[in-house]
């Protein structure tokens, strides 16, 4: 029914007349008849907005795992953090939502300055001097980081910690088919990466090391060791860092990371079934000309007023074309602006408090869960905001049973780790109360017993 098209029939008439045409069909005279669709699209006719809402609500209703129905204990790179009304209302301002990439800085200072502030906050989180204006998600940021690393080191061999998010590793492998990078996955022992000892592989030295901090199992990796290998081999160190944990942990940059990537969903973006999320990307100054995606810089206008503009554009696809550092064009600006707002809401004390509360709730839950019969730790190393446990029953079965008890119990490690079938990854955010955790533990006891 197209109620979004303003034109009345009379107007269409007179516009056609102005063009010397007698029908809308004639507008497509240039399209060869043989190619044209000889029928209407086999889609239902348009309906009014209330009917559309009803349809979409019906879909929504079929999702049992919605956080207002199942209390969320799942993490694995997507977390159920507090999103205050103030962040929602500011990030929902239509000037931010309905604008395009800031091609005309004179009328885009709002987005440009917000992104400049975002870049500053991300750089501080990473402990590095430069951050870009966002990438699609954590995984795509990792892919771009490896591309940058290979280009910078000149070596296409990539050592990939098995502690990196399994989906990130799949994306890296998928894209390697095009770039020809050689990926070697380095296994975990006791939850942390067991890097090959000195000497090994030096026939084919790595150009890039990729490691998590903390890693997918929540374990805190020893970045000093990874850095040492890089120093030995001339490889770049890429760290996939959890930006919430950064509230309590030393920055990856302080450990000598060359590139830090991460998933920014934690800062004001909801679970949203996995997207749109926010790819965080920061790097050392040395690599700024290889930076993927957009970068906002500060400058002045002709009256000497402070102004912001996208800069170092020569790296980008629209100018450098096949020689561009990346093909990214549209990114996740709205999520970047949202993160700037949320980080402004958190502030210095709030980020620490957020990280502390997550760690505390995680510790409390882990202690209680590990006291249950048949439940044991899946990985030994110290964890921060997430932990993996081994269950006496298949993790997938546990998740189903826990759903009936009102919980999204966690993420089965099935397929992602050897003997992951019985392993469950559990995450506890600041939104979980003691009561919720206690009843989760009780329910889990039942679930694994029966």
């Amino acid at each position: 029914m197209g109620t979004y098209i303003p034109h009345t029939d009379d107007e269409v008439e007179s516009m056609l007349a102005f063009l010397g045409l007698s029908s809308l069909e004639e507008l497509f005279a240039v399209v060869p008849e043989a190619l044209k669709l000889q029928r209407g699209l086999e889609l239902a006719d348009g309906v009014g907005e209330p009917d559309v809402m009803a349809r979409m609500e019906a879909f929504a209703d079929q999702n049992r795992a919605r956080s207002d129905r199942l209390i969320c204990f799942a993490g694995g790179g997507a977390y159920d953090h507090e999103i205050p009304p103030v962040t929602r209302s500011l990030a929902g301002r239509s000037e931010f939502v309905t604008s395009y990439t800031p091609y005309q800085p004179e009328v885009a200072q709002g987005v440009l300055q917000a992104v400049f502030e975002y870049q500053t906050m991300v750089a501080r989180l990473a402990g590095l001097p430069v951050a870009n204006a966002s990438l699609y998600d954590g995984g795509s940021a990792a892919v771009e980081a490896v591309n940058l690393g290979v280009a910078a080191s000149g070596r296409a061999t990539v050592w990939l910690s098995a502690g990196i998010h399994p989906h990130w590793r799949q994306m890296l492998a998928t894209c390697a088919a095009g770039t020809g990078h050689r990926l070697a996955t380095i296994p975990l022992v006791d939850g942390v990466t067991a890097w090959p000892d000195e000497g090994v592989h030096l026939d084919d030295p790595p150009g890039v090391l990729v490691v998590g901090y903390p890693n997918y199992l929540g374990c805190i990796e020893d970045l000093a060791e990874a850095r040492a290998i890089c120093d030995r081999t001339g490889a770049l160190l890429v760290v996939g860092a959890d930006p919430v944990a950064a509230g309590l942990l030393r920055s990856a940059g302080s450990w000598g990371a060359d590139v830090v990537v991460g998933e920014g969903q934690v800062f004001g973006t909801g679970l949203g079934f996995g997207g749109p999320y926010l790819g965080l990307f920061a790097c050392a100054s040395a690599h700024v000309r290889r930076l993927p995606g957009r970068l906002v810089g500060e400058t002045l206008d002709v009256e000497g007023r402070r102004a912001y503009v996208t800069t170092l554009r020569a790296r980008e696809q629209d100018i450098r074309r096949e020689k561009a550092t990346s093909n990214v064009c549209t990114n996740q600006t709205l999520m970047a602006v949202t993160a700037a707002i949320q980080l402004g809401w958190l502030g210095t004390s709030g980020l620490v408090e957020l990280a502390r509360r997550c760690a505390q709730a995680t510790r409390y839950t882990r202690d209680a869960v590990l006291s249950l019969d048949g439940v044991e730790a899946f990985a030994g190393a110290p964890v921060l905001r997430e932990f993996a446990i081994r269950l006496p029953i298949p993790a997938a079965v546990a998740v189903e049973r826990m759903a009936d008890a009102g919980f999204l119990a966690g993420i089965p490690l099935t397929g992602d780790f050897d003997d992951g079938e019985h392993a469950l990854l559990v995450s506890v955010t600041e939104r979980r109360t003691r009561d919720e955790i206690d009843s989760y533990v009780t329910a889990l006891a039942k679930a694994v017993a029966s």
Partner: protein, 513 residues
């Protein structure tokens, strides 16, 4: 112009003088508004016994200094970002005829859809059994997009058009390799968008550029000379970036298929042909769509988008996974599952793609319906041609024949006569109350003004836009040299020094001196 005060030094506190409503001061950064000890945050009371940080974090890893972030009250947070929003143009404020960007109106009902707790509150790792609604939604969208493009199946993972392009090229590669054929080159026209060649490189192919002929379409002769067994495929957008329909598309398809290559359709311009002609019927094997263009999902100041890729039957086994599928046909209560195609190239998104963007797009399609989608294409093309015809006497129209959804004008003649460039016209237009068209793209047109009105702008708005562009052309004639180069005057900032930005790079507040 008014002697607007220059940048205040340090934090001027909560003044709204930066809001265009009141003045044109610079808005301080949130770091300057920050004051130690302020806070806005609050969390739920958890009742969990508190532990000192020392017990939670191994000593070697414990951060010693808290991470410095802005410290502001909720009130100052709100004021700052609200003022920033007043310094930002948007579709909701006015017409945004950015060529190649399809800046149509974004219906608010889609915001409501994206806010539904049953969609927005779902964890992406929850098993299919607990997320049947989402899987059903994704399947319905996939089927819908396939009907619109005339393809067999689609992946919804790519987060934007460029990601879709790379996905398509990896599919191309996988398909050729599966058939044991090593190919090295991908052909793109010289009018192609920059993401095309960039994606080709990431796909591990070499770019071969074909020129456009004097009608603005692929030069068939030139194409013939580069077509050989090394060609993995060709990337085209049709209508192309000149807004022109590649009339020889059938012949191009035949020729490329002839040498065993595949045809990739860059769907950025799909808005022009909805319900009229389908990429699949033109012979394309791989199609990406920009839901944030054709299907009205808002651009968010530069993203997020969604760039699903649809393919023909023979490429289905190679699609990324997991893919949502209906596993039993019993329509009473269909069941949905995640499946990985047998020869899948792998994964292109951390999760399932920009899911909430996908939901917005489906809602938009349901509202418009099959009938409405064709009306969109017709009206978009009508608007573009009206602008073309109306301005033909005023600006150069390098390829003056019926266009599709957008028209590329040129300021070439005016520039030669008065030194006024496309950029000047763009800046001048801002103060007329319109966002500027895309300028200097496609690269093959000198001083290009690429105008895409979209179907949601009314005839009155087109009239006003045309009058403004006509006024500007006559100003170029009547006003002294350099007059136009002074614009804009009334915007929050005036022309910015881009060279300085690159020369003395200040990418963060901490990089200031």
């Amino acid at each position: 112009m008014s002697g607007a005060p220059v940048t205040p030094v340090g934090a001027p506190g909560g003044k709204a003088a930066s809001a265009p409503l009141l003045g044109r001061e610079a808005e301080p950064t949130i770091f300057e508004l920050s004051h130690p000890g302020r806070r806005a945050w609050s969390f739920r009371t958890s009742g969990i016994p508190e532990l000192p940080v020392e017990e939670l974090v191994p000593d070697a890893h414990r951060r010693r200094q808290p991470l410095p972030l802005p410290e502001v009250s909720e009130r100052d947070l709100v004021a700052h970002f609200t003022r920033l929003s007043h310094r930002q143009f948007s579709v909701d404020l006015g017409a945004y005829p950015l060529g190649s960007c399809t800046m149509k109106y974004n219906p608010k009902v889609c915001d409501a859809v994206a806010g539904l707790p049953g969609l927005a509150g779902v964890h992406p790792a929850a098993p299919a059994s607990l997320t049947q609604g989402w899987l059903a939604l994704l399947v319905e969208l996939e089927e819908t997009l396939c009907e619109i493009t005339g393809m067999a199946a689609a992946t919804l993972q790519p987060a934007a058009g460029a990601a879709g392009e790379l996905t398509g090229l990896l599919l191309m590669r996988a398909w050729h390799e599966a058939r044991g054929s090593k190919r090295t080159k991908v052909i793109i026209p010289d009018s192609a968008h920059g993401t095309n060649p960039a994606s080709v490189t990431l796909g591990g192919y070499e770019v071969v550029t074909v020129p456009s002929d004097d009608r603005g379409c692929v030069d068939m002769a030139a194409l013939a000379t580069v077509l050989d067994e090394d060609v993995a495929g060709i990337m085209l957008t049709n209508p192309n970036t000149l807004g022109l329909f590649e009339e020889e598309i059938a012949a191009i398809a035949a020729a490329v298929h002839q040498v065993g290559g595949l045809l990739y359709y860059d769907g950025a311009n799909l808005n022009a042909i909805l319900g009229v002609v389908r990429p699949g019927d033109m012979g394309f094997d791989i199609v990406h769509m920009n839901l944030h263009k054709t299907f009205a999902t808002p651009h968010g100041g530069g993203g997020p988008g969604a760039g699903p890729v649809a393919v023909s039957e023979r490429l289905v086994p190679f699609l990324p996974g997991p893919r949502a599928m209906r596993v039993d046909s019993d329509d009473q209560s269909p069941v949905y599952e995640w499946t990985v195609p047998p020869r899948s190239i792998g994964r292109m998104h951390t999760w399932h793609g920009n899911a909430l963007v996908l939901a917005r797009a489906l809602a938009y399609i349901l509202a418009n319906g099959g009938d409405g989608l064709r009306k969109i294409a017709e009206t978009a093309v009508l608007n573009a041609n009206w602008i073309r015809r109306r301005l033909a006497g005023t600006y150069d129209v390098p390829f003056d024949r019926p266009c599709m959804h957008e028209v590329v004008l040129s300021v070439r003649t005016i520039k030669q006569a008065h030194g006024v460039r496309a950029l000047d016209v763009a800046k001048r237009l801002l103060e007329e109350g319109f966002h500027a068209p895309t300028v200097y793209f496609p690269l093959i047109v000198e001083e290009a003004l690429m105008i895409e009105p979209t179907e949601t702008e009314s005839p009155q708005t087109l009239e006003a836009l045309a009058e403004s562009l006509e006024r500007i052309a006559s100003e170029a004639n009547d006003r002294p040299d350099g007059w136009m180069a002074e614009f804009p005057h009334g915007t929050p900032v005036r022309r910015v020094d881009e060279a300085r930005a690159a020369r003395t790079l200040v990418p963060t507040f901490d990089a200031r001196d």
